[in-house]
């Protein structure tokens, strides 16, 4: 299992008496989409927060490409190649679509301490940002302020910013949330192609998407992983059906 790009070992985090994540060990292998599903409040977002560095675990570790990054900050992990998207879009709302993408490119370049030359004249930044926008189909909206984007477009931009980082691994918290049926379909198609670039740890409640995309699925219930397996295995698992899927299995 040492070829895992991203790996958690025994991650535990408690809020008071509540164990939000409890000894969670997962891994993300090259080229795969690993879906993390589970009931509301199971601890998925809490896990993502620990993986991305926004939350310190009480116990356990996170490894990225074999290196222990548990003690590193969000920024350091991002620089080490971890890109995340947010469950609720976190974008600079007053800025244009291009500027948000350029921010990602700037982060990837690792050189924000340039005070005098305008971004617009920095070809490297511009190309990288535009390339990412083109891939999600937002190139025509580059000059639109984010506040004027529709919900679906904002989700696309979230992904585009992650793309500019050219990361080693993606962590996505509900990228389909709020997308309509055709939006979800398009996003599903897009993520499908993305896995060759870098593996994706995907938190999602949209079972159509999960079943279509995931190479493996882990099920988190009350902070614990109760099952990991292929889509077929998970759909058959009675414990998962009882805890999560109900009759949508």
């Amino acid at each position: 299992m040492s070829d895992a790009v991203l790996e958690t070992r025994g991650l535990s985090k408690a809020f008071g008496a509540l164990k939000a994540t409890d000894e969670v060990s997962l891994d993300l292998r090259p080229g795969e989409i690993h879906a993390l599903i589970g009931p509301n409040g199971a601890g998925k977002s809490t896990l993502i927060a620990q993986v991305s560095g926004a939350l310190r675990p009480d116990r356990g570790s996170v490894r990225l490409e074999g290196r222990d990054v548990t003690a590193r900050s969000v920024e350091a992990r991002a620089r080490a190649g971890l890109a995340r998207t947010f469950q609720i879009s976190a974008l600079a709302m007053e800025d244009s679509v291009f500027e948000n993408a350029a921010l990602g490119a700037l982060g990837a370049s690792g050189r924000p301490w340039r005070f005098l030359r305008p971004v617009a004249r920095d070809a490297a930044l511009r190309d990288r940002a535009m390339a990412a926008l083109e891939r999600v189909g937002l190139q025509d909206a580059a000059d639109t302020p984010v506040s004027a984007l529709s919900h679906g477009q904002r989700r696309q931009l979230e992904v585009a910013v992650a793309l500019t980082l050219q990361p080693r691994a993606f962590v996505m918290d509900e990228p389909m949330a709020g997308l309509g049926a055709d939006g979800s379909r398009r996003m599903t198609g897009f993520l499908d192609g993305l896995r060759d670039e870098a593996p994706i740890l995907l938190v999602e409640h949209d079972m159509d998407a999960v079943f279509a995309l995931a190479d493996r699925v882990s099920v988190l219930v009350s902070g614990r992983v109760i099952a990991t397996g292929t889509v077929a295995e998970i759909r058959r698992d009675p414990a998962v059906q009882a805890a999560y899927l109900g009759d949508s299995a």
Binding site: F15, I37, G38, P39, N40, G41, A42, Q87, A148, S150, H151, G152, Q153, E174, A177, G178, L179, G180, A181, D182, G183, S184, R185, H205, M207, A243, Y244, L245, G246, D247, S248
Partner: protein, 228 residues
């Protein structure tokens, strides 16, 4: 005789128009699905009805013209809203969330707790620390505490686990069956909408593109206007 009548509704955000010509009707006790792709104006329509946005055209509720009414007056007239994005009062406890909205009527803390036992269990917890599904239940419970005659659910199942979704749909079905509450429901899942709704209204770029009985919603209309 419809409970809510909307016609020729237009609305804008600043200078950008979002609704051009929306009309819809909801009769007493009726469940109507409001459908359409992303960004077609469903939420905007709801906001207009609830007085959260300036609008032009006609909106009548129970024969009263809602033009110029502030949103609290509309709510008191009997429209309960479960907003997009849940919007619980994060620093209040579950119980306080419900009390904040309460007005006298059939719906009480106990009855909401019967509908959503989970809320009863968590009554002392800060709403901000609830999970998404719990927050969604709270938002519905909170709207019911206003004892509305029309309940509006905007994406009430977004971000919820399948099992919880089923719970919410079951609750909606129960509301329909037991209380005769009129419901306007917006959701992504056409399949589930079809099970509870009597009629559907479909928006396309800020206009009502289709309305009719749920049974009349043929797959090609649905494919063309909703993408499913």
């Amino acid at each position: 005789m419809s409970l809510l009548h909307v016609s020729a509704l237009t609305a804008r955000y600043g200078a950008a128009p979002a609704l051009f010509d929306v009309s819809l009707d909801i009769g007493a006790g009726e469940v109507v699905a409001l459908m359409g792709r992303n960004g077609m104006g469903k939420t905007t329509t709801v906001k207009a009805i609830c007085g959260m946005l300036p609008w032009e055209g006609t909106i009548r509720f129970d024969d009263a013209d809602l033009a110029g009414w502030p949103s609290h007056r509309i709510a008191r007239a009997g429209i309960g809203l479960v907003p997009e994005g849940r919007r619980p009062f994060r620093d209040l406890t579950v119980r306080e969330n419900l009390i904040a909205a309460a007005r006298t009527g059939d719906w009480t803390l106990e009855r909401v707790a019967d509908l959503f036992p989970r809320l009863g269990e968590r009554s002392g917890q800060r709403a901000g620390s609830l999970s998404g599904g719990e927050q969604q239940m709270l938002a519905i419970g909170r709207a019911l505490m206003t004892n509305p005659r029309l309940l509006i659910l905007d994406e009430a199942t977004e971000g919820l686990a399948p099992l919880v979704r089923q719970e919410i749909w079951a609750a909606i079905a129960r509301l329909k069956r037991d209380t005769g509450l009129a419901i306007l429901v917006i959701d992504k899942s056409v399949r589930e909408l079809a099970q509870v709704a009597d009629r559907a209204v479909i928006l396309e770029r800020g206009k009502t593109a289709w309305q009719g009985g749920m049974a009349d919603l043929t797959p090609d209309i649905s494919e063309r206007l909703v993408g499913v």
